[in-house]
Amino acid sequence: MLRYNLDQSLLLKLMSEVQRRKYSQEEKNTIFDGEFMPHIDSMYNFAYRLTFDEDDAKDLVQDTYLKAYRFINSFEQGTNAKAWLFRILKNSFINEYRKKSKQPTKVDYQEVETYYNSDDVDYQSTTDLRAESVKDMLGDEISNALNSLAVDFRTVIILCDLEGFTYEEMAKILDIPIGTVRSRLHRARNLLKDKLRGYAQNMGYNTDGEEEEAEF
């Protein structure tokens, strides 16, 4: 219910927060081809990592582009099209795809509850996972670790590390305060580290921060 309302308010915002323009058909085509379509790779990648399904990802990207075209008058030419599109995609996902997603996201509610209760973050020194071990990991291990995170944590890592958005852009895309972006990102990376630590231990990487004694 809350999610649905968010989408309505997004559309209202899209229509009202920017001065309403009236682009000619030619201008619309120029914006769409020149500023929207170049982001299709990133959009599809984001959609796929949200839905884990090729058809759902295609539908989601297509829906996003149709919405973008429909509301093109509320987009200011030459501004941050990628962030604008990502925001629409994220909201479309929440409203239309999350429920029917073929692979529902596993959510540890206690984890989420604990993590969402405040913006205060516990920063702790991690001595049992080494930068060298992380660098040695395979793409599949990194990718699986990312995919295993709850959607909200996965999202901030995709936006920040894969797509290079700033905290401020993420705050706008996700409709949350910058402080929440920062803390959610930190928690997401901590959860990711837990996963990577597990892989490192299974693979026999050195994870205790000390040189291991040779055994004879």
């Binding site: 769409f32 299709i40 941050n80 990718s143 990312l146 590390d161 852009e169």
Partner: protein
């Protein structure tokens, strides 16, 4: 006044320029010269992570250099966090976009014009 996408983009560029100036190989001093306990892990790590995410103003750099030279936990945390960001960026392969998707979108747009 609320920031527009345009101002955010300009500020982002500034930050990216700043980010590029950061020397990536910080220092190679031995751990023995750094203190082994960090007196304010929360503040330090938050700062380091903000810098790695490109979200820190010019003042942060000097403080960071100092931390990395003098504090072993900060040094290790920085390099672990940096490694994680690097592998995410370089090893999470992009999904191949289905070839028909662009055309399908253009076709749908034609239909609603």
């Amino acid at each position: 006044m609320p920031k527009t996408w345009a101002t955010i983009r300009t500020e982002k560029k500034k930050r990216q320029n700043f980010k590029e100036e950061l020397p990536m190989e910080m220092n190679t001093e031995s751990a023995g010269e750094r203190k082994l306990q960090c007196s304010d892990v929360t503040k330090c790590f938050e700062l380091l992570e903000s810098i790695l995410d490109g979200d820190m103003t010019q003042g942060g750099k000097a403080i960071m250099d100092d931390k990395l030279a003098k504090c072993q936990p900060c040094f290790e945390h920085y390099h672990l966090e940096q490694a994680i960001r690097e592998v995410l960026k370089t090893k999470c392969t992009k999904q191949v976009v289905p070839s028909e998707l662009s055309n399908s979108i253009r076709q749908k747009i034609q239909d609603i014009k």
